[in-house]
């Protein structure tokens, strides 16, 4: 302990760390009946950390070329000791991370926590969710199997519908006109270099803003939060968050061990798309909606209308702190609350109905 004391004193003398410790020990987390919502951002962060650790491990064996990718993942899951577990944890944790991020986002939205002065936190969180989906989309292709090949054909083809920049975007993403080994190599680069760098920067900003501004207490819970004793961040909140993380780890381990992620068949660019093809569950709401839109609506291609509607919807969701003017004055807008519940109902119902096979 004396050694630790000496080390601490030496560091404190040089870097003036005492104020940081002072800040952390005085930090408090308000308590009210919806304080459970405060744990989901941390849970998302936990799964992200698992992604970094397992992703680095997979890099030791993975080979990003059309000739070797599928075989290298096959080698990982069949020959490398615990390779099946590491790969399965990476795939499951990715899905749980997106799920935790969605719960986090909707709890933030429905509690009105995006309101001024927390617009930047909302925007950085929105972009982080976009990055998470980018991680999911790029990582999905890496095993170079049938499903991922067609998912990438569809997903990249959607970008070609962007006005003006569409064709350029398509070539940029695919590394050519078609989805080939060039696309795989690019997606690998995005997945392990570009996206992690952007995510690290945005995550730093997101967490920094939360530390600077503290937890938001919704107006209608302010009275309750005033009367209840707040939780000290150190050690109480951190310990509770630790329990949530342990719970997350338990769920992850059970899913990865009992339902190992499938590898499927190697991609064949000259085979038909297999029947029953579906994207990852977090794209199902979009996938099913695109299936329902007719080929042409009022003389315009249906897919353009669908994709345009999703783009506008995303923009409205992003701009909510500005559009919901009442929120800046601490009032809840019924319209935006209804919008939040409506979007949630749409996402959940389409995803569940898709799993139940209602759109066949």
């Amino acid at each position: 302990m004396r050694l630790l004391d000496t080390l601490w004193k030496a560091l404190d003398e040089r870097l003036e760390l005492a104020p940081l410790v002072e800040f952390a020990t005085h930090k408090e987390v308000p308590q009210h009946r919806h304080s459970w919502a405060y744990y989901f951002g941390g849970l998302t962060l936990f799964f992200f950390a698992v992604q970094i650790a397992t992703g680095i491990l997979l890099l030791l064996y993975y080979r990003p070329t059309a000739e070797a990718a599928f075989e290298s993942v096959q080698f990982i899951v069949t020959r490398v000791p615990f390779g099946w577990l590491i790969r399965s944890v990476h795939s499951w944790s990715a899905n749980l991370m997106i799920l935790a991020a969605f719960v986090h986002m909707f709890s933030v939205y429905l509690l009105g926590s995006y309101a001024k002065p927390r617009e930047l936190t909302w925007w950085s969180g929105f972009l982080l969710l976009g990055l998470a989906m980018g991680f999911g989309f790029s990582g999905y292709l890496l095993p170079w199997n049938e499903l991922s090949f067609f998912a990438t054909r569809i997903g990249t083809d959607m970008t070609s519908k962007v006005p003006l920049a569409g064709p350029w975007l398509l070539t940029f993403l695919r590394g050519g006109e078609e989805v080939t080994g060039a696309t795989l190599t690019r997606f690998f680069g995005f997945h392990v270099a570009v996206l992690p760098m952007l995510a690290a920067a945005l995550l730093g900003l997101h967490l920094g803003l939360i530390q600077r501004q503290g937890m938001h207490v919704p107006g209608h819970l302010a009275e309750e939060a005033r009367t209840r004793k707040p939780l000290r961040f150190l050690p109480n909140f951190v310990l509770r968050e630790g329990v949530v993380w342990l719970f997350g780890l338990a769920v992850l381990a059970a899913l990865a061990a009992f339902f190992p992620w499938e590898l499927g068949n190697k991609a064949d660019p000259f085979a038909s798309a297999p029947a029953g093809i579906k994207p990852e569950w977090y794209f199902l709401f979009m996938f099913e909606a695109l299936k329902l839109i007719p080929a042409t609506v009022l003389g315009i291609e249906g897919e353009l209308i669908g994709l345009g509607a999703f783009a506008v919807g995303g923009l409205v969701w992003f701009l909510v702190p500005v559009l919901d003017r009442a929120s800046a004055h601490g009032r809840r807008s019924r319209l935006f609350l209804a919008l939040g519940w409506g979007v949630l109902a749409y996402l959940v119902s389409f995803t569940v109905l898709s799993f139940l096979g209602a759109f066949q």
């Binding site: 990249t156 083809d157 660019p269 000259f270 038909s272 093809i277 695109l290 839109i293 066949q360």
Partner: protein, 150 residues
């Protein structure tokens, strides 16, 4: 603000700022232009493929289809239940998936978003906005040749 002698209205400071700004802009543009070009791969000169041997008639039973390679894109050759042979581009006009022949429907189908095309390649139902490109079929003995743009 001292105007530069002989140039009324422009202060020395704004002139220096303009020089610095444009230099910085030019430096950025000079650095970003190669990056912008680098991310788009060069065109690979490929011999244009207009005619390929798509299938052997003996391998193609009645009411069946086969996806074949047509240059860098997939094509589909279909032998109808009545024995006619037809060929189309296999790229779905909706979102770029590869279509297949469904013997149970007796027409062309895309698994990705449930698009249906008839035996003339016309989009029947589902989201596809346009018909499939139709290819010309020539049969020489057992060989099925498919020609583009005919």
């Amino acid at each position: 603000m001292d105007p530069v002698p002989g140039t009324p209205g422009i202060s020395r400071k704004s002139f220096v700022n303009w020089l610095l700004g444009t230099s910085l802009g030019a430096t950025l543009a000079a650095a970003l232009y190669p990056v912008f070009r680098f991310v788009i791969p060069p065109e690979v000169a490929e011999a244009p493929v207009n005619r390929v041997l798509a299938a052997r008639l003996s391998e193609l039973p009645l009411n069946a289809g086969k996806v074949f390679r047509f240059g860098s894109k997939p094509g589909i050759v279909v032998r109808t239940a009545t024995g006619e042979v037809r060929a189309f581009s296999a790229v779905c006009t909706h979102l770029n998936c590869t279509v297949q022949y469904r013997p149970d429907f007796q027409h062309v189908w895309c698994a990705c978003h449930n698009g249906h095309y008839d035996l003339q390649g016309k989009n029947l139902s589902g989201p596809p906005p346009r018909p499939l490109e139709v290819y010309k079929v020539d049969i020489a003995g057992d060989d099925v040749y498919v020609t583009k743009g005919a």
